[in-house]
């Protein structure tokens, strides 16, 4: 595999992980978490763990984001800290 691609994905994972912690808007944090999951899925696929990548894409990037958005919809959108 091209190492530059892996490096870019790794950087994106770190930034979206830190961003999900830092951002005040909870909806934004949920979307960043989804991006994090999707990048993880790409990384699993690159490393040959296709089954894990599939699970990550469907559970992590797919359904859990919907559940996050549904939960935020029922609470407040701004985080206190």
């Amino acid at each position: 595999m091209i190492w530059q691609l892996e490096f870019i994905i790794l950087i994106l994972i770190i930034f979206s992980g830190i961003g999900a912690l830092m951002v005040k808007d909870l909806l934004g944090a949920g979307i960043l978490f989804s991006a994090y999951s999707f990048m993880m899925c790409l990384l699993w696929a690159i490393m040959g763990a296709v089954d894990v990548a599939f699970t990550e894409a469907s559970v992590g990037a797919g359904v859990s984001t919907v559940l996050f958005v549904a939960a935020i919809f029922r609470t407040t959108r701004r985080s206190k800290d």
Partner: protein, 276 residues
Amino acid sequence: MKTFGIIAVVLCGALLIYGTVDFPEWGDPASPASTYVSPYYIEHSIPDTSVPNIVTAILADYRGYDTMFETAVVFAAGIACIFLLRIEKRDSPRSRLYRHIPTGVTIRIEQGGRLPEGSRDLERIDSVWVPYDLIIKTGCRLVIPFIQLFALYVIAHGHHSPGGGFQGGVIFGAAIILYALAYDLRTAQTHLPIRTSVLLSSTGVLIYAGTGALCLLLGANFLNYSALAGLLGVDPVTARSHGILIVEIGVALAVMAVMVGLYYIISSAGRLDEGL
């Protein structure tokens, strides 16, 4: 406090990264896992189970107990969420909104009020979020059957390609969630009520554990699918492959029902009437 937290996190992260130095190289053929564990499954999974996808063979056959209790954990988590968040009170404290279909006029019925007699032209709409979009509804209605078909393919084809019960169940659940998003929670619940979803999730776990118990009754170990050979009318090796398919269907049912139930209960804050 915050600085202390950051220091603790950075320290922990540094220790973990330091720990990875001792790991074998990625894909190193001399690493312990590649020397002792992997070759066994690579050599034995086809003669033992006749399943080409080794991951599926390990998950549902060699490590069948793990997967069974994973399914049980998913089921327990879903049931716990529904018990915690469900509000049984039927009478809604909020006023309800209805749309008059021919004219598009929205009317509000206050608490305790009732609809005019014989009004078939009124449809209930959500009070907070009212998406009335023909394109979204039609688009979703066109896409959903294909998503469901793909989910069934993922479940059934887990023997040969990546996939299996968990992924297929999540995709199937996502199709129903998409339906609930495009229409509303009440329309989705006419097709899959929360009662049915709870029932389906327990049925899924029952299928898995029941297959194991059936093997036990037929004189083999728990979850040893070779015992099903007589019932299915195939040789013991093919029986393992079929047994894997049966438990995958159980996993898919449980996961699908739990995902849909969780979405219903979270998006409506336990009331199950108005949601996202």
